[in-house]
């Protein structure tokens, strides 16, 4: 045992139970004669303290583990007012968290547009904000520049996130895909679907037979992104699958392809069920489907359960969802709007048609259905200007509960057009609009166009007891003025 270890042991249990050691001769110290055991131990502790502190050695770090330094930044750094404003937003935000997020995003976009980058010293707080706010994370590039990308890499590798390499680089080898574990493989496939749907298809097709049922279902579900008629072959193959989960996923995906063979088969099943009725052929009668045959069961129509009655309406729903929508128009000989009129009162059938139209984003049918009913998912299919126009109409007419419009309003691209902005402001400043104001609080400041700032200011000056509403308006005014300073700072 070394001297230090002896000393440590004696100190730990106490000199009452463990004698103090003698200092090593190499240190060249001569212990004084005759002190007690305690004094001797304390003397040696003092010696050990001084020796340890005077003999500190640096550690060695190998070249091998060293990360490459950051390559130079070619973009100029943001200076002056622009840098000051970002610093303010990151370190002492003068606005609430939602507005801050929006303003930081605005800053990044403006910086990207003017070709400047974030000052190096502000990268850490910016990345910290991006860590919790996806909308900031999305706009980091190119504003954070080379140093920012490098820093992201350093911090990620420091946290040992090795999977990140597969995520950011295009370089990930598709050959390695089979090696990835379940959820990572799904994530990688999802990434590929966004950029190269065909590669993802070939990849999954090639490995299909080696995968577990759960993996097949999860991987196939990623085909919802960029689904096209090229995917039909693999989906048809999946319809034969042993596992119900895989079959259901394939059927749900094929529901979105009205030109597929399965859609044609569904059309053939739907057509005989439709019959125009009544004296003036004013009603479209829809019959119930017969007991499904093997081919129908394979296409996803529920078979007869072991006991109890089969759910025939559910079978009908499946057929409607799979069949092309023009089956209806060809059966009635009229357009979508009139066909819908013929189905008046058939709520379940109309609901199935609506979900089919929404899934396929069939604009003709979506528009016709929206005349009949309000459904956010239908509205979401329309191009933004048309959506805005309809939202203005809904808000003005009061036909739809304003709260139901919050979601569609959130989904609209910002800023809104002047007309929508004016209508919304009108609604929230109406007597009962306080609650709507609160629900829109997070998005309103950025959604209002700059021209609306003046109106907000006027509204704010009007006396109002509703503190929440005042806060929303004040946020809007604050956002606009800060945003104005940002724009000027980048001029």
């Amino acid at each position: 045992m070394t001297w230090l270890a002896e000393l440590r042991a004696a100190a730990l249990v106490g000199t009452a139970r463990h004698p103090a050691p003698c200092p090593p001769a190499e240190l060249g110290v001569r212990p004084p004669e005759g002190p007690s055991a305690e004094e001797s131990l304390l003397d040696q502790a003092a010696l050990a303290d001084a020796v340890t502190r005077a003999a500190r050695q640096p550690r060695r770090l190998d070249d091998a583990g060293l990360a490459e330094p950051a390559p130079p930044d070619h973009c100029p750094q943001a200076t002056g007012e622009a840098a000051r404003l970002l610093d303010l937003l990151l370190t002492q935000p003068p606005v609430g968290p939602e507005l801050r997020t929006q303003l930081v995003t605005d800053w990044l976009k403006l910086a990207a547009a003017s070709g400047v980058r974030v000052p190096h010293s502000l990268l850490p707080p910016l990345l910290a904000v991006a860590g919790t706010r996806p909308s900031v994370a999305e706009h980091l590039h190119p504003a954070i520049g080379t140093r920012g990308r490098w820093l992201q890499g350093m911090l990620e590798s420091d946290q040992g996130a090795s999977a990140s390499a597969a995520r950011d680089g295009q370089s990930s080898e598709t050959g390695d895909w089979a090696e990835l574990a379940g959820t990572d493989a799904t994530a990688e496939l999802e990434r590929l679907r966004r950029i190269h749907p065909a590669t993802a298809r070939t990849l999954l097709g090639g490995h299909w037979d080696n995968l577990t049922a759960r993996e097949r279902a999860a991987h196939l579900a990623t085909f919802a992104t960029n689904l096209g008629s090229d995917d039909e072959e693999l989906l048809e193959r999946a319809l034969h699958d042993k596992a119900k989960g895989v079959r259901d996923t394939a059927a749900a995906l094929l529901d979105r392809l009205p030109d597929s063979a399965r859609a044609a088969r569904m059309a053939a099943r739907l057509r005989p069920l439709l019959r125009l009725n009544g004296m003036l052929r004013k009603h479209l009668e829809v019959g119930l489907p017969p007991e499904p045959d093997a081919a129908a069961i394979r296409d996803g129509i529920p078979a007869r359960p072991r006991n109890g009655e089969p759910d025939r309406l559910a079978r009908l729903d499946t057929i409607i969802r799979g069949a092309p929508l023009d089956t209806w128009t060809s059966a009635t000989g009229r357009g979508p709007a009139s066909s819908i009129a013929l189905l008046k009162g058939e709520t379940r059938i109309l609901a199935a048609i609506a979900s089919t139209a929404a899934q396929r984003a069939d604009l003709e049918w979506v528009r016709a259905l929206l005349e009949d009913r309000f459904e956010p998912r239908l509205l979401a299919c329309l191009p933004p200007p048309e959506r805005e126009e309809r939202l203005v109409r809904y808000l003005r007419s009061g036909a739809v509960q304003a709260f139901a419009l919050v979601e569609p309003l959130r989904d609209l691209p910002r800023p809104w057009g002047p007309e929508l902005a004016a209508t919304v402001l009108e609604q929230i400043t109406a007597k009962s609009g306080g609650q709507l104001a609160v629900m829109l609080a997070g998005i309103l400041p950025a959604a209002l166009p700059p021209e609306a700032a003046g109106q907000c200011r006027q509204l704010l000056e009007r006396s109002d007891d509703d503190a929440a509403r005042r806060r929303v308006l004040r946020d809007a005014v604050q956002y606009q003025s800060f945003r104005q300073s940002l724009t000027e700072a980048f001029l």
């Binding site: 000393l7 440590r8 004696a10 100190a11 730990l12 249990v13 106490g14 000199t15 009452a16 139970r17 463990h18 007690s36 055991a37 305690e38 004094e39 131990l41 304390l42 003397d43 040696q44 502790a45 003092a46 010696l47 050990a48 303290d49 001084a50 340890t52 502190r53 005077a54 003999a55 500190r56 050695q57 640096p58 550690r59 060695r60 770090l61 190998d62 070249d63 583990g65 060293l66 990360a67 490459e68 330094p69 950051a70 303010l88 002492q92 003068p94 190096h120 010293s121 990268l123 850490p124 990345l127 140093r147 490098w150 820093l151 350093m154 911090l155 590798s157 420091d158």
Partner: protein, 432 residues
């Protein structure tokens, strides 16, 4: 006095909330009758009440006064006024000082003269002074004797049993040391009361620390044989400070002084600020500022600034504690901190310093061409491949500023780790 920079104003804020509130107030709207001269900035701020608050700031001290009821110093009004003034948006120089500001300044000046007169007029009674000193030494001797008995008990029963003691046990020992006028030792014992539970290397830590305390008690007993510098170091370690008034009379060293770096800490009871300076002849000194929890610390000096000031040094071994003997002006910014050393050289210098002043725990180092590396709490690595672990360092900020390239770093060596306080990046001194 020159106009303050906005950073300097921010540094004067007692907390972030005050600064945020001040930023909201820092627009011309609520302000009236603002003005400034060489030493004063003043103005009136319309608050929620009927009469506007009267705000005055003495830039030289610095001292703040505001008629608002806030208990923060400086309050948001004073900060907002300084912000406006630092941006040149209000309080332009040249106007006659407002009545309230002038009155306040005169009162302060009067009080200061009265205090000075009282001090200088106080009849020095050598006999009484000698008796006070003898009383104090007797008290300290008894305290040291008591403390060495306690240390002997500590090692007789062992560190393991000391670890089972509650915090109040350590606190009791510390309280006795305070009564014996040994506050420096008391502070160390109190810290040990939490360190013994918090640290993974507690066995060695307590052992070495007990050894150091033991050596202190022995050094105290032979204090008559110590050199003046050694005695001064010992006095710092046990907490018998040399009064600032004695230091002010000492030889004043002229500047310009380069601010190497500064560190602020807050242990919950006391805020401390250390500022390391280097003079034109290479002398390194450290300024210490203390403030109770709720009070503001002195405005921090910006790393890399060249200060036009003279300092007087406390007795003790280098690097000595120092204080400014007059006003402080800024004489520009340095582009570099000077010639640094390798990590091995820095550790050798530390060893030499331990030999001459065994009570000092912190050593300033300027490391040349070190790279910031990740892993654990981070590392600094020099060209030779030697490395030191970082302590209290914002690793992400260091990486962002340096990009992993070799840079010169100034910091404090402490228990084999380095606390970086400033770095030189592209001809600018930056703080992580």
């Amino acid at each position: 006095m020159g106009r303050w920079s906005e950073d300097r104003v921010a540094g004067a804020a007692p907390d972030a909330a005050s600064l945020a509130a001040a930023r909201k107030l820092a627009r011309p709207g609520p302000w009236s009758e603002t003005g400034s001269n060489d030493v004063l900035v003043w103005g009136k701020c319309q608050g929620s009440g009927k009469t506007p608050y009267q705000v005055s700031v003495d830039l030289a001290a610095p001292a703040y006064r505001c008629s608002c009821p806030s208990r923060k110093f400086p309050c948001k009004h004073a900060l907002a006024l300084l912000l406006l003034w630092s941006r040149g948006e209000a309080a332009d120089a040249g106007t006659e000082a407002a009545g309230f500001a002038r009155e306040w300044a005169e009162q302060r000046a009067d009080r200061a003269t009265v205090r000075e007169r009282r001090q200088s007029e106080q009849p020095a009674d050598p006999a009484a002074q000698a008796k006070r000193l003898a009383d104090r030494l007797a008290l300290m001797d008894a305290g040291i004797a008591d403390f060495s008995r306690w240390l002997a008990d500590l090692v007789r029963t062992g560190m393991a049993s000391a670890r089972t003691q509650p915090y109040s046990w350590w606190d009791g020992v510390a309280a006795r040391l305070v009564d014996a006028q040994l506050p420096g030792l008391a502070e160390q014992v109190r810290t040990m009361g939490s360190d013994i539970h918090a640290r993974s290397d507690w066995t060695d830590h307590v052992l070495y620390r007990a050894g150091r305390w033991w050596a202190l008690t022995k050094a105290w007993r032979m204090r008559d044989h110590l050199t003046p510098d050694e005695l001064a170091d010992l006095r710092v370690a046990i907490g018998w400070p040399v009064p600032a008034s004695e230091v002010e009379g000492a030889e004043a060293l002229p500047g310009p002084w380069l601010v190497l770096g500064a560190h602020r800490s807050d242990d919950g009871r006391l805020q401390q600020q250390r500022t390391w300076l280097r003079g034109p002849d290479g002398t390194v000194v450290v300024l210490l500022d203390f403030a109770a929890r709720s009070e503001p610390l002195a405005t921090p000096q910006l790393a890399g600034a060249l200060l036009d000031a003279t300092v007087a040094r406390y007795p003790g071994s280098a690097p000595q504690r120092a204080l400014f003997t007059g006003g402080v002006g800024t004489a520009g910014m340095a582009q570099t901190l000077g010639e640094g050393s390798s990590i091995r050289q820095a550790l050798n210098a530390e060893s030499a310093a331990v030999a001459s002043s065994p009570w000092r725990e912190r050593h300033p180092v300027l490391l040349a061409g070190v790279r910031v590396c990740t892993g654990g709490s981070g590392w600094l690595r020099d060209e030779a491949g030697d490395a030191l672990p970082l302590v209290d360092a914002p690793l992400d900020s260091l990486l962002a500023l340096t990009g992993g390239h070799p840079v010169d770093v100034f910091g404090e060596l402490e228990e084999g780790r380095v606390r970086p306080l400033s770095a030189v990046v592209g001809n600018t001194v930056v703080t992580p």
